[in-house]
Symmetry: C2
Subunit: 354 residues, 2 copies
């Protein structure tokens, strides 16, 4: 598989084992290590490269510095038949949101629709992970989160009070792949800026502006400005509302309370997230619905294309293709990341990736 | 109030009475005429000028041509404790959505969160109307709709298969005004293009492109192209998901099924919409929550501003200011609209606006 041009591949199972060993070495219970590793590998498998094993060194550093609870008592604090609020007890976000998603699905299977919010959670990887979970139970999942660092001001302002607050929605289809939207409410996610810093390429106009409102295209100047929301005031409004629903409503951090988890490894982030599960069967025959989603897929695909486009894509289509390919061929680990993971393995006394 | 530069004003109550008379004259039951007029006047009061009495001639024309049912049997077809699907029986959208919102609130007051979808509804005015309804019951409202004409293709395509599918969210505050987001998933709503056609002004780049992908800035060329979604593929994805949730999931029209209600006054539109009501008390103390929203308001407002901006605004702030001013001074009716309403009054045999 390896060439000079392509990063070496690691099989999904090998990557998962590596992550499990890392978590066990810092004291995670076995069940939690397995689950966290499964979700982090899945992030890489679906192509969310900035949200999978890439984050492992950062998570481990936070655990070692006492900023994350490895034995959380994740518990329901508020509950009605169609909702709950979970206290994540500063546990790993993946574990908190996995629990939240399953409570939401169990409730929705009875009430039709259910919403579970969390506080004192942490970074949980790509939003798509949780929006996808309800799909296999013939449900629609909708997940929102507060990002773990503020990267933009309210529209027209200059104080960074908002994050890229993402929204993800997963919808099952029949013969076609599921439709899975996963989007930041900014034109570019901050990870894309980081990639440009690494590659040295210019950013397109529209990603960032400086404090005078001028475009920033040189990624090395990223600290001089901030990300732009999609649609200007609209993306700002949407990000603000997600902040209220995922943060304020759950008693989680929002605005000036948000901890920059890239800079501060000790302070509890009090991250807020929520998931909504919709049981399709409550609305209509599940097979009919899935066939309708197939038809939507085919209809969008059948549109003639603009010059410069080869095809129309559905949300999640690229991710599905990557997942299929990586399941077969393994997950590419770029050399710089491999070096970091080798150093981590050394530090933790576990076997490095092959 | 009247000057040569400013359109004549009509008081809120006079406008409402006029709309009631119009509906009674075409056979609406009194209760429905009252409710529809109240909501349409409210649309004008909050500044949604393209969605209030402006639409009355079009609605009346549809009723006269048999495209809208004036005696609908609006009924629950599917139901669980936290959800329902309503058949709007091709009734007026305002009546269908008013019913849906109240069912959602009643259910949410027990289950914490509730979702009501509708099919065989019709155009229901501005999205904010319904997202605002739960506020007075200390709930958060979230409303989405399928627009009543397709104005854009899927991203990268050229066949217009999507509408401006809006999302609106209403959040109560304590001393500050409620936060009310109401946004199309396109950079510009189509009504703004129509306003530019009337004014003869150029459109900014980014609103529309033609079938070759080039910007359209001349509004008279609007038919040569289509609206652009916010954030490119992101707004497309969001609009598509809203289409599935508001349309497909309720058995309502989406994609090629959408009827252009500006061109076809006879065919049943089978419009789909949904509302989600969230009972804040299920999550936390209501007063604490509202004080937190006040703090968010003050925090955003306190941000220093970019050059060219006088202030940071919260979603719904402009609309709140307009509503206060119009409550005092009445609703401005532009001369061209007044002429249309005078002709309508003549046609219906009712008293014109003063």
């Amino acid at each position: 598989m390896t060439t000079g041009l392509e990063p070496r591949r690691t099989s999904c199972s090998e990557l998962e084992t590596f992550i499990i060993q890392a978590y066990l070495s810092v004291g995670f219970p076995e069940e939690d290590a397995d689950l966290a590793a499964d979700l982090m590998m899945e992030a890489d498998r679906i192509g969310a490269d900035g949200h999978g094993v890439f984050r492992l060194p950062q998570y481990i550093k936070r655990i070692k510095l006492g900023g994350l609870n490895i034995n959380p008592d994740i518990r329901i604090e508020k509950e009605r038949t169609a909702m709950a609020v979970l206290n994540g007890d500063n546990g790993m976000g993946h574990l908190v949101m996995h629990r939240a998603a399953h409570i939401a699905m169990d409730k929705a299977s009875i009430t039709g629709v259910a919403w579970v919010g969390v506080h004192h959670s942490n970074h949980a990887g790509p939003a798509a992970l949780y929006a996808r979970m309800p799909i296999e139970r013939n449900m629609i999942g909708l997940y929102c989160a507060i990002g773990n660092a503020n990267h933009l001001p309210p529209w027209g302002g200059t104080e960074m009070l908002l994050s890229t607050n993402p929204i993800a929605v997963g919808v099952p289809a029949n013969e076609e792949p599921s439709i899975v939207l996963d989007m930041a409410t900014t034109v570019a996610a901050y990870g894309k800026v980081k990639q440009k810093i690494l590659s040295g390429e210019k950013m397109p106009e529209g990603w960032m502006i400086d404090r005078q409102g001028n475009p920033i295209t040189d990624p090395s100047r990223a600290d001089d400005g901030f990300l732009l929301p999609i649609g200007g005031p609209k993306g700002y409004g949407l990000g603000l509302i997600i902040g209220i629903l995922a943060g304020t409503l759950n008693g989680a951090a929002f605005g000036r309370d948000v901890i920059d988890f890239n800079a501060d490894y000790k302070t509890t982030t009090n991250t807020g997230q929520f998931i909504l599960a919709i049981d399709i069967e409550a609305f209509m025959d599940v097979d009919d619905f899935k066939r309708d989603v197939d038809l939507i897929w085919k209809t969008m695909k059948s549109s003639p294309t603009l010059p410069g486009f080869n095809e129309v894509r559905l949300p999640g289509e690229r991710s599905n293709r990557i997942a299929e390919e990586r399941t077969r061929n393994g997950i590419p680990i770029h050399p710089a990341l491999r070096d970091r993971l080798d150093r981590l393995a050394d530090e933790l006394g576990i076997s490095p990736l092959d």
